[in-house]
Symmetry: C2
DNA sequence: GACAAGTTATTGCATCTGCAACTATAGTGG
DNA sequence: CCACTATAGTTGCAGATGCAATAACTTGTC
């Protein structure tokens, strides 16, 4: 229980939490942008495509329903429809009918998509070597993972 | 010096660093989206506008050049031009000629912009109370700030 | 079984953003 | 003073995304 007026009341724009939130936005923006540029240059793969392929590989079945993709990559369902359109057009994923629910669509990664993802992942590893491993120790990365996981908790 | 093949060679998609990078993207996407929704509902203020106003308040002079704004919020200069167009149209900022360099434009926050930002900051503090303070202790937030700062280092 | 309500994906439309080309101005070396 | 190069900002254009409306299907209730 605080009995004094916190600094934030005096100057919210320099409040410790406001600064942290801004730092999170900024760090994400810079890292994701610089990685997106590299991925585009080396693999001709948009970051959003990479995210989709990565999420698909992370599921045991290698496929997700449209709304699960949207949830996983934090897009609207409408946006996800067009995104998957483009990935399918490029032959990296495939829409499959769901036998148990005719409204649902399964999005499955194709062989070509797997190859592309392998490519992208090797680029990603190199990028992370440069931008993660060189800046944070292994322990620090573990600590950051714990903190972001807590922060990311849905409740 | 490692003498064994690291796990990442076997399965990059579950490499500790790949997971951390994905976690950073995900955490940022969820937090910024949910805050953007609240800001839009309560203040009718797009998140990008809030970012601009906050950056302007953080400078001693209350103004930045166009390219400094672009750098601060991680936008292209072209995108920043339109963004400032909209903010100026709404009366929240003002373009000012720079006496020493006739190419440059100073973007200054207006009185109305300051009021709007005060509004938004009070909403922001409430949001952070719910989503930051409830999930991370003060020490954890300080630790996260340190880690993100290291990660964000330009080099 | 039939209707109401909920769920899933898609589409029209509007908006936002980046890239590359362009204009205007500043700095530099002769 | 004159090129030449670099920098600041804007604009045309194309692409990506969200929202709301819609169509197709499922589930629950009577």
């Amino acid at each position: 229980m605080e009995t004094v007026i916190p600094l934030s009341t005096v100057c919210p724009s320099s409040d410790e939490r406001v600064t942290l939130f801004a730092l999170l936005l900024d760090t994400n923006a810079r890292l994701s942008r610089s990685f997106a540029v590299r991925l585009e240059e080396t693999c001709a793969l948009p970051l959003a495509w990479f995210e989709v392929l990565l999420q698909l590989r992370r599921t045991p079945e290698g496929s997700l329903k449209m709304n699960e993709v949207a949830e996983a990559i934090v897009h609207s369902t409408g946006g996800t429809t067009r995104l998957i359109d483009r990935l399918e057009e490029a032959g990296l994923v495939q829409r499959q009918l769901c036998p148990s629910d005719r409204r649902a669509i399964h999005v499955a990664i194709t062989a070509q998509g797997n190859l592309k993802l392998d490519d992208a992942l090797s680029v990603h590893m190199g990028y992370l070597e440069e931008h993660l491993s060189s800046r944070l120790t292994c322990d620090e990365r573990a600590e950051l993972t714990v903190l972001l996981t807590k922060l990311n908790a849905t409740r």
